[in-house]
């Protein structure tokens, strides 16, 4: 998974966009370029983007984390965005990638949940059903070459069954005890695996929350498109809850001891 959502689904091109600033100087033009290129232009690029989402299984359910930043290229544009959302009574989804596409996906899911509710047939959507629905939507859109530019984690618990799975703009899906999207796939996933693999059935909620917090901190240190303000979603048998935004404790003293670049010469 490429950390830069702007590069997803295409080769990285340093000549073209060395500093990841594409939204401002390179807005896509919808005007016809010549007599042959009329028609709907639907190949798109993400504009306002969210970075990593992390999630792990623990003894009693699922924990998911994402920060509150929505970036506009390299600009930290919106700093109070909720990237974790509840869907129905048993599920949370968390998204990286294009935030307007994510809002559209939320409205799709809201319509779906209302439709299921109004049928009053005694069935409720669980995380499995929501993930399957999302997968079909995402794969369907990629097949129309009109993707929803996101990578999404779906976590939940229903009838005592924990569920955690991934789906992205290509319709690729998978499931595991630890999942991470975006830059988190490189930096947090190895840490998560070391902490969780083989222990998903014994970890307590407190231990799991500590693991996620540590990973969010490492991501904030290393991912330039991240923020030290994040939320945690907890899904257990008692339901879904999404925390208020928390601040990450960070320490930058080590920077004082670094020598040899920038203005500091000795």
């Amino acid at each position: 998974m490429d950390h830069f959502p702007g590069n997803w689904g295409r080769l990285r091109n340093d000549d073209y966009d060395a500093y990841g600033t594409f939204p401002i100087p390179h807005r896509p033009s919808n005007a016809p370029k010549d007599t042959f290129s009329e028609g709907v232009q639907r190949t798109q690029q993400p504009i306002v983007t969210g970075t990593s989402v992390l999630a792990i299984k623990f003894k009693d359910g699922i924990l998911m984390a994402a920060d509150n930043l929505a970036s506009y290229g390299s600009l930290a544009r919106f700093k109070d965005v909720q990237r974790l959302r509840p869907v129905g009574d048993y599920t949370v989804i968390g998204a990286g990638g294009d935030m307007s596409d994510f809002q559209y996906i939320q409205s799709l899911l809201d319509d779906l949940v209302v439709e299921e509710f109004t049928s009053q047939d005694g069935h409720n959507l669980g995380p499995k059903e929501i993930h399957e629905y999302l997968s079909q939507v995402m794969y369907g859109r990629r097949t129309k070459i009109n993707p929803l530019w996101n990578s999404i984690l779906v976590g939940g618990l229903k009838d005592g069954q924990r569920f955690l799975a991934y789906v992205d703009l290509l319709g690729t899906t998978y499931s595991a005890d630890t999942l991470a999207t975006g830059y988190g796939a490189y930096i947090a996933q190895p840490l998560l695996r070391r902490a969780v693999e083989g222990r998903a059935d014994t970890l307590t909620e407190e231990e799991a929350a500590k693991i996620l917090e540590d990973c969010m901190r490492v991501l904030f240190y290393r991912d330039a498109r991240s923020l030290n303000k994040y939320q945690i979603a907890t899904i257990t048998a008692s339901g879904v809850s999404i925390s208020d935004s928390k601040a990450l404790e960070t320490s930058w003293e080590f920077a004082e001891g670094i020598r040899g670049y920038g203005a500091q010469t000795q």
């Binding site: 998974m1 689904g9 340093d14 073209y16 794969y139 290509l170 690729t172 899906t173 499931s175 796939a185």
Partner: protein, 253 residues
């Protein structure tokens, strides 16, 4: 030239609807059985996405399909094949024969000739005449019946090994003897396990877990399967062809 100035050389940025998810699959036909296997790692680039994503699927009591390539296409393709087989069952009150499934897969793949399912398929099972069979496909539907086939990330490592051990390529039989046309099940299983441990050692996209499906012809005895570690039966009835899975760990590095 200013690298940020794109006006002088217009660029087309295009969404790429495909990716590669690594892994390897393999199938070997015996006289009256077949073995269809795949590793369970799913990856993209240097990332392991998950250590368990099945690539081998039971279609009927005598047909197993292994899918490798772009995982999203693979899952969708298997889903659609299963749906067509269910419709066939509703229409004809029996399972579709293996050779018919093979042709069905060709038609379904070729229907997408100009926006292909980016997947390599290997279909294994038992024919109506009771013989073990393997069919291999390219992404747009070309197919043939074979005795063995490897596909996917480590195809170039595994296929030569199979050519040597199953077709006895580059081997001289001892004077007065000849190479066997078909190998017994225990030896085939050993070859499959060796293929995957070997591929795991030498290919970064192969590893984590191994799933081997064994399909036995009607009336076949268990032929050494009894008591094997990690064995699980998948057949729906016991008087027809029978399907088993054997699950093994592979190295996770």
């Amino acid at each position: 030239m200013n690298p940020m100035n794109t006006a002088s050389h217009p660029q087309q940025r295009q969404f790429n609807p495909y990716t590669e998810n690594g892994g390897t699959i393999l199938a070997i036909a015996g006289l009256d059985f077949s073995v269809i296997a795949g590793d369970t790692r799913q990856s993209e680039g240097y990332n392991i996405q998950t250590r368990y994503a099945p690539k081998v699927f039971r279609l009927t009591d005598r047909a197993v399909l292994a899918v490798n390539g772009f995982a999203a296409d693979g899952n969708m393709f298997v889903k659609k094949v299963k749906q067509r087989l269910e419709w066939y069952r509703h229409a004809h009150a029996k399972d579709m024969p293996l050779h018919a499934i093979a042709r069905l897969i060709q038609t379904m793949l070729y229907a997408r000739r100009f926006f292909p399912y980016y997947v390599y398929n290997i279909l294994g099972g038992i024919e109506d005449d009771g013989s073990g069979a393997v069919y291999s496909f390219d992404p747009v539907g070309s197919y043939e019946r074979e005795t063995c086939r490897a596909a996917g990330a480590a195809q170039s490592l595994v296929q030569p090994f199979l050519d040597n051990q199953i077709y006895f390529k580059n081997q001289q039989p001892a004077l007065g003897t000849s190479h066997p046309a078909h190998l017994p099940l225990p030896q085939v299983l050993r070859l499959v396990i060796d293929s995957f441990t070997g591929a795991t050692e030498r290919h970064i996209e192969v590893g984590d877990g191994l799933e081997m499906f064994v399909v036995l012809a009607k009336g076949h005895d268990l032929a050494g399967l009894e008591g094997i570690a990690g064995l699980q039966e998948m057949s729906t009835k016991s008087d027809g062809e029978r399907i088993f899975v054997i699950r093994r760990e592979l190295k996770k590095d």
